[in-house]
Symmetry: C3
């Protein structure tokens, strides 16, 4: 009596029968089963962007990160390396650090004062029996590493090994942006009422960009379009884009910086995409007129008119790096139908608010665009929740959405195959 | 270890062993399994009242209707027919129309501008590949029809065929009330904290009418009682009822209008009941003194003193039609323990608020009665949620509650039998 | 594919493999399955403290008690005995009494006026068929009894038989405190965001007492410590404790009252512990200086300087009885991660607020301590919800936590064994 009982969704069947070229079937977006699978097979097995070096400038600085049921402490240790630990006391399991960020000397559980070093070692546990061995009760560690100022962690004990290759390809693009010398100018958390994959699908295409008036002041809505699928209405914009692209490419070439698109979205475990692109208007930054939002440039560039560096790492992070500032985005699943989108604006550590940059000008375009996207994602979630929903075709300009779905389904298949083998 | 784990409720077993003459076992009211079964077997397979013609006077006027996980657009098309479609874009499934009501030229999805006619056909999808066939992507249609101004839809592809017979029996009663010439004077949505079946059981008996002081100004609380089970306290009321009934019957006879009760509550797929009854006090309408609430009569009647027409269609709608105004009610399941009760007051389209009718006077009796019923339903839900609850006996005057339960269980059996066959 | 689907937790396996000496595995604290099992196997099968005689002074006085999905009426009958009934009408199951406390002549269901005596018998059900037998529709009864003014109920039809033995051991300790002559001075309900077992574990140890500054004004934080595991920092406090203990013991001996610790926490079905202990400071009561909070003593004692009587009954109640007042505590599971802690302060019925006692002084220590414990419990719940949580070792001073866990797991094993046999 299949429709009558809320029978467990057979995730393996849905994964196996996924059709390319169209959106996923409803259970991927609405079921608790797929939410749990996504946490376990995607978020707990891949490298995740969780913070920037700028958020952890000094030893003892930490942020706590929530990934599904996990809580992780990311902390700079006394060697100035970034380390990560499960935020769970080894005594009776209390959450140790309750704040989102802060600075500690040691990591002390407030319940019974078990005290750990920033290297995770248990330094002190009051009133124990003589045979108690503190060395058995270090905090459980989590893999952590940085790439040009971006902090990634991996909850798996055997993280994907190809991250080194990705880092090696991305670093020449990222390095001139000096993220390690940045400070956080603003951070906005927005809860979208939709599945995290709808957030990502929304982010991966510009087929809906007509709904983003603020964005279009600076952004060429030709993303995903080329000669073969360009709609007539975008023709003048596309010509302008080609001119701007040629100009910016010349500048990068003269600076000896790479400009070529690298796209390995669904062809490796750590799928990614990195691309330089011109911006519209003044061509400098994401503002209402395209001019730089911060006078003190962050990047080692002689001019601000250098468009953007677009970086994306599967499953859930993307970045816009301009000459004057950088923006990081991540989408964290909160439930089958709720996703946290965290947006962080970075400027040069020496830039002064009110003098070098105005916070409203800096954040306006993407704060507005995120709000608009939240409405789109909520509508998508509402729609796919109807039993009448059937997957529909991706448009030609949605090729990166397809690449996201391909990567995602491939990773689920790898996980299901691994766990099958282990049984 | 049956009590210890939240084992899936075996709905088939509970349906099979249901005892007549008493309330249903707890899982019918409290479990997610029966909620899902009710949506699928009852709400998605039967004709449901969802609106009145008065809510869709012109082509392009629409309402959106939420039935469990479904969202449906009910719209008047360019031929002035009422049509219904799933409110799900055929592209990536977004909810198309987000408002409860409005007017459209075409049905346009705000996400990527896919544009459908009010006949459901896809008129335009931007930037598609050359082989894209718009005709394959019409909105998925839902059966819709009207009966004397009442709009019904059925989500099943094979709706119950006996609705024509019901309509034919009901229309002679309903037609003089001119619902198609009405306008909506007021609409109140009330969320009751109980299962939809408790809402219906509450509605189907007057054994609890002592709890409705406002209602009793106009309503004879003798519903369900006859000579054989009349309590002494109701004797004077009953005598008054008999006199009023005889008088009203004469008037209807002189008008050539049918007066006889037709009751097929649990003897057909589209169970229904239609009955004319006198009202108390002035005998005209549901007001504090029984006088008409609207000077401009809605019905084609020479006098307002014509009591009420009571119409009920399984599973979830009931109607009171008086000479001066009409009221429609529907109960929509929101969850195992939450139900939306929508009440709509209709007056003649030409009646003027403040002159012909006063909104407070018009709505007072049923707004108050609904609030009282909401408390009864909440208490019933609380009580049946206790493991100590055991079904108890329906009183003789609760015969229509029993008929509701009979119809409901019969329909579940039919569904379970059909799905069993299909396996 | 075990991690991927929200497979039902196999409670029997977790119960069977529980390791002594360390905290429980995560599903005990976070799963719906264990929550349901705890209600059924622990709360519905054991004696539960639910009120004091002081809350039901006169015939017809009642309180309603919520235990998981159950609602129970506890009422003093016309013989001045305490009785308990399920708060579910025998007609269609409505919750009968909606208030937390009150006074009734009869117990009348407000839905259809079914009327029961305070002995549970159905006195009147309106308009029934001639063959209706009221005697078949008494309220379903619940076992109830009092111990020295403490009201206990048991939802099982076959309550644990050893409660008489427990009562016989506890009454000599409790009786001088005159709880039956008390009145309620204050009652505070606090919802803790954690599993009820984390509430109990928190309550059963003083390893965390450094987090309770108000409490330490009156309470010796040496609970759980002895010569063999005393930390150096507690040495001066412990010496003071030993002196105070000797002095108080002498007084009790001179009064002919028992002082010896009786501890049967995990060695019987109705596990309990009763102990007299000195208090710190003035040694009289739980106040900022240890002095009595109420001039009018509640206990039959010649002096207030008599410390506290600590009484605990598994699974969820504990009591502090001083010369001047008494405090009762109970922890009621509301969900896997929510627990109601009800604290009631009792003073002599003749004590006058503002003259004999000040409410803030009376409640300050434990109101503050409860709030602090709520934060500890919430952190424990957050931590054990992480998949990275592994059970950790109880410290030597947490021996009563271990005893609680032992009792709990033993009771689950008894239940699972019984239900296994019944299949």
């Amino acid at each position: 009596m299949k429709q009558a009982t809320p029978a467990a969704v057979d995730v393996a069947e849905f994964v196996a029968r996924r059709s390319v070229g169209q959106s996923l079937e409803a259970p991927f977006y609405v079921s608790q089963e797929f939410f749990d699978l996504d946490i376990e097979a995607v978020f707990a097995r891949h490298w995740l962007f969780v913070a920037t070096d700028a958020e952890l400038p000094e030893p003892g600085d930490y942020v706590t990160v929530a990934i599904g049921p996990y809580s992780i402490i990311v902390v700079r240790d006394d060697n100035e390396d970034v380390r990560a630990f499960h935020n769970v006391c080894r005594h009776r399991g209390a959450r140790i650090l309750g704040e989102e960020r802060g600075t500690v000397g040691n990591i002390v559980c407030g319940y019974h004062q078990w005290t750990y070093g920033v290297d995770g070692k248990l330094l002190h546990a009051p009133s124990q029996a003589p045979d108690f061995a503190p060395s058995c009760f270090s905090l459980r560690s989590v893999h952590a590493r940085t790439v040009a100022g971006l902090v990634y962690i991996c909850l798996s004990q055997t993280p994907p090994e190809d991250f080194d290759e990705v880092a090696a390809q991305a670093e020449p693009y990222l390095a001139p942006h000096n993220l390690a010398k940045a400070k956080v100018a603003a951070q906005i958390d927005l809860v979208e009422n939709g599945n995290w994959k709808l957030t990502m699908e929304n982010n991966r295409e510009c087929y809906h960009c007509g709904g983003h008036p603020e964005l279009l002041c600076a952004y060429f809505p030709t993303y995903g379009y080329g000669e073969q699928n360009l709609p007539a209405v975008l023709r003048p914009t596309y010509e302008r884009y080609l001119q701007a692209d040629a100009a910016v490419r010349l500048t990068y070439d003269s600076l000896g910086l790479p400009y070529t698109l690298v796209e390995e979205l669904d062809t490796r475990t750590t799928g990614f995409r990195i691309q330089r692109e011109p911006l519209d208007g003044a061509g400098e930054s994401y503002t209402s007129d395209g001019k730089a939002a911060c006078k003190r440039l962050l990047a080692d560039f002689p001019t601000a008119r250098l468009g953007r560096l677009a970086f994306h790492t599967q499953p859930n992070a993307w970045f816009h790096l301009m000459a004057d500032h950088a923006i990081t985005f991540s989408a964290i699943p909160l439930g089958p139908d709720r996703t946290l989108v965290r947006t962080t604006w970075l400027v040069h550590a020496d830039a002064v608010e009110g003098i070098d940059y105005d916070l409203d000008t800096l954040t306006k375009v993407w704060a507005a665009t995120n709000e608009q996207d939240a409405l789109f994602v909520a509508r998508a979630q509402q729609g796919v929740s109807s039993p009448a929903y059937v997957p529909g075709p991706y448009a030609p300009s949605e090729e990166d959405v397809e690449a996201f779905a391909n990567w995602y389904v491939t990773r689920l298949r790898a996980y299901l195959s691994d766990t099958e083998r282990q049984r």
